[in-house]
Symmetry: D2
């Protein structure tokens, strides 16, 4: 079917490629002409602006917006005069699900459908397919089914879950209509919250393996260092890359994130190319805020987020307060760093 795509960054451009490979007809726009032209060379129809894009699409139009969350409002405002009742807008980016609720409401009177679609897959999605978490009116979502089916990974060679029968459901193909407006981005938000904690679990465990050698050297003995009672228990110089590789097969912790970790460690076993300043995008934060709103305990999801904050030095003043307190009550002087 025909789809307009606005925003041809890494994600948007790859999705257009996957859609065209699946036989769909894509009309594309980006404020950068090069991005448009690159896809035109591969068979897409280029649009010179949003009005042009809408003009090139047959009614009911399906327009996929793949831009930074902060730019979605503006794109919708600019598109709106060129849309007609029955048209469908899809926000496939990283918007907050509460924005979806707002957008859907504001477009409802004009008869325009708004579908939110959380998209997981990153730079691997073009080849591997995108996991799609979808919210909005059932009719609009159903209309877009051919698009979703092409973007999604399909059943692939992953073993079927016991008890699932008959033709594979869309969930088994990697896309799902999760509920009304916002449901898609809500599920994607929680997905990312989980992702942070999964990442943190591997990171903490591998760091512990890395540090299992601390009994090898001389032990610091001073009043400001907790003594290591049994240095002989910590004399392992593990090959972390090999251990990550090992766990990929047969172990309970095998996962796609572990596959990636094994790859990263294979390339650079000491990860010397990284400084350990870990960014976070919004979804991890929103997940924790939803947990707090709903009174749902989420220690791991939240701690994984806070570990990132701390990696960027944002606990600094807190730490200085601790040192100051220790000096006040015990006369403890800070140890210089090694």
């Amino acid at each position: 079917m025909q789809l307009g795509m606005i925003g041809l960054g890494r994600m948007g451009a790859n999705m257009v490629q996957r859609l065209m490979a699946g036989g769909h007809d894509c009309v594309v726009y980006d404020h950068g002409r090069d991005a448009v032209e690159a896809l035109v060379r591969d068979g897409a129809t280029g649009a010179s602006d949003l009005a042009d894009l809408c003009a090139r699409l047959s009614a009911p139009r399906a327009v996929w917006i793949m831009v930074p969350a902060a730019a979605v409002d503006q794109v919708i405002d600019q598109l709106r005069p060129h849309l007609a009742p029955g048209d469908i807008l899809i926000d496939g980016g990283n918007s907050h699900y509460q924005e979806d609720i707002r957008h859907a409401e504001s477009l409802r009177d004009a008869g325009i459908h708004f579908v939110d679609c959380g998209t997981s897959g990153g730079v691997w999605g073009r080849e591997r397919g995108y996991c799609l978490m979808i919210g909005g009116d059932a009719d609009a979502v159903r209309h877009l089914d051919p698009i979703f089916a092409t973007l999604a990974p399909g059943v692939g060679d992953i073993e079927r879950t016991a008890g699932r029968q008959g033709a594979p459901s869309t969930a088994e193909q990697g896309y799902l209509h999760c509920g009304p407006s916002g449901a898609g981005h809500f599920v994607k938000m929680v997905h990312n919250g989980i992702e942070y904690a999964l990442m943190g679990a591997y990171a903490e465990g591998l760091n512990l393996l890395k540090r299992a050698d601390i009994g090898m050297g001389d032990q610091t003995v001073d009043a400001e260092t907790a003594p290591l009672a049994h240095p002989e228990h910590y004399r392992y110089a593990f090959n972390i890359a090999d251990i990550a590789e090992l766990w990929r097969r047969g172990s309970v912790v095998s996962s796609w994130l572990l596959d990636l970790t094994a790859g990263a460690l294979q390339q650079d076993p000491g990860l010397e190319h990284f400084s350990g300043r870990v960014s976070d995008s919004g979804e991890g934060r929103w997940t924790c805020q939803a947990a707090i709103d709903t009174g749902t305990p989420a220690p791991l999801l939240t701690l994984a987020l806070y570990e990132r904050f701390a990696s960027r030095g944002d606990a600094d003043f807190a730490n200085r307060i601790l040192s100051a307190m220790r000096y006040q009550f015990g006369g403890h002087h800070e140890k210089p760093s090694d």
Copy 2:
């Protein structure tokens, strides 16, 4: 090659089956005669006691101990008179790695090798293969290579990590000599610590999805309930089983644990067969204690453990203290449960 197996519980018996299917010759013993006889019917050589088992093995003997951690000391004591220099004992159970260090030392003077082998794979291992994390002397480990190679999953159909070249390493086949005595169980310990946090990450996230419907009903309004500012943001009745299934394909959080979770939710979407009283075995605890010993931050691994403790009611007195404090400073009365 020939291997003695002591302990024919679920794990030990399955491992013997996998070894025999791989052409190895197994001499088996268990204090339960039925377990021995079942394997004898399938081709194993049965032993009537530990002396008999040792007598039936050619030197240098390889004896795999697969018994509860608490029973290992006793088995070693009983075996010892029947062993000769050059023999190899393998502890494939869930022992603390510090026990391995002790065992290896106590056997060294007698010329007996002690190999520790952390084994992941659970009830699935017979079919899927076991991920093996091995510690001990290089010679002894090398001697056992045919056993490890058969028990391990092998390279399978898992995509090769970029940058790995030549013949597959043992890590790529699912077994690895991790270091000297204790190294195998150390790595297995950390593996389980990671496992707890991975499990906790999915559990917290799916619980949040479950609770995303709290804006649907009436909101409690009283002085002891934090108000939900925007009930309209929490009106989703998600199909948790479908979402777990969805994430299995193309998403960043796909993993074997997620596969299992999707299976459990498919069978029983509300998980009504479970009460939520979550056990822990030792490894998660030991991981956290190693983190503390080595000064390694491990919030996620530790919180995952504490969530299990709390699931069993072990925070009860702490919670009553909090209620008592609230009553003292603010006159707050506890709310009855719903």
Copy 3:
């Protein structure tokens, strides 16, 4: 000076009493007539409604609102027609600081000052004084200084901080103009966030003391129970009430919250009157959300909140997922509760 007080619950009524004892003239209103009459008997001027209250105050009026956060909007709307430029509204309740910013803006054009005042002190404040955290225009705050000075505890017999010189600052008297609109409730919010974590710290520690006797009884031995390696290390039957009392003098952990805890344990050493279902009001939640917004690591403040959520059973589905996973990969059955 003269002050109108709207809302004569426990906090509002006690504050009026303290103000009258300090020589101030209070005009009081509550929708419950009894509350008004009780204070009238003690010397307050009663008002029959908000219009009457405003009529009885001389310009510029100072009106303190002490009602539940959810009712503040309505009270302000009803008061507004009866106010004149130069009048001052004070919200002394538990409002979210972002509401203060909104209220101050909406009243600014009408020349009405809006002051936010976070108030700590609970049921003890009448006698002990209230710690006041104040936000708003400097002029309005200065005008109210006599009110704040009376409500606050004053310097009391607390030892002066080294380096503070001259006449005691208002901070040393227990009240402080913290900044522009919202600053007072922001500081109060963080105050409560800290309070939750302080409470949690004592609760966890005392619970650990309570459980230091687990080595006394028989140890459970089964596959679903992590063994206690050294029961002989956990054979203490501590007197928790005496220990809380002990720490009140000379220890690093002495605090007002500890004083209260010692009181609660003295009355009821087993805290049998409490079930351990711990409520939270909004401030702890808002604190964590501010931490997340600002990228500030706040693990303790957040975990203290999540412990309360969990005490109310809100981790239940998460725990059932964990049990279901354990059953899936290891065939583990849940242990029945004791």
Copy 4:
């Protein structure tokens, strides 16, 4: 009464001073002659070595050991030949309570009593008194009562806990026989675990106040920075020193640790003299390990410890793993630090 004191560091020397001021007769030894001589000038009896110290004490001897935990074994070994049945050793340092159990057992056959005494009070104890947590045989503890009563703060001017009647108990005077051997150091261990979390609570809260100004400057806009949705909510430049001072009176969070924090911030509001590298001594670690052993959830106590580990850079490799994963799945490059 007469007491021998071994170890005249800051703690030991101050305790001798307090004991002599209370009329006790102290025989003192330290491997540093200067420390001995300083106390001799103030009235103590100096000893030239441990034999000499024992010779100068009348039977039954009471010998207080106040040396680093690692040196206790050696001191006991050296003392032992010079002790007689009925003598009492007191370990007043920071030993692990399990060492006490071992020491008491090893001395029991010789008829020597071993008393463990956890001591809180730091550099302030000489003036303020020491909070004493005591374990061991009741007879030995009773014999030492005059010593404990002098070292402890006494009832002081702290308000009596409601319900406590009659002559003040020793708990109300600041010392307590907590139980059999190890009980004193166990309670002190948990005390310190609580202390860490209390400190962390203030540190996190004050850091959040410090960072409440992040909406004032320009907001970073790039793909690696989570946007601040409402900068107008974070435009407070709080005076942290004044807020700490404020909370000392009338608030729920007042405590001795807050008093110290207010003092530190008064001296150096930005805490520029500290780098934020926070040490930990053993007790916090032992507390968490006891929590894990006993299956007691202790998230706050443990997280407070992990925050210290992280302040020393010990999460570094974990953070680099996170960055590496992000690069792998999303092509995210690390942001340089500001």
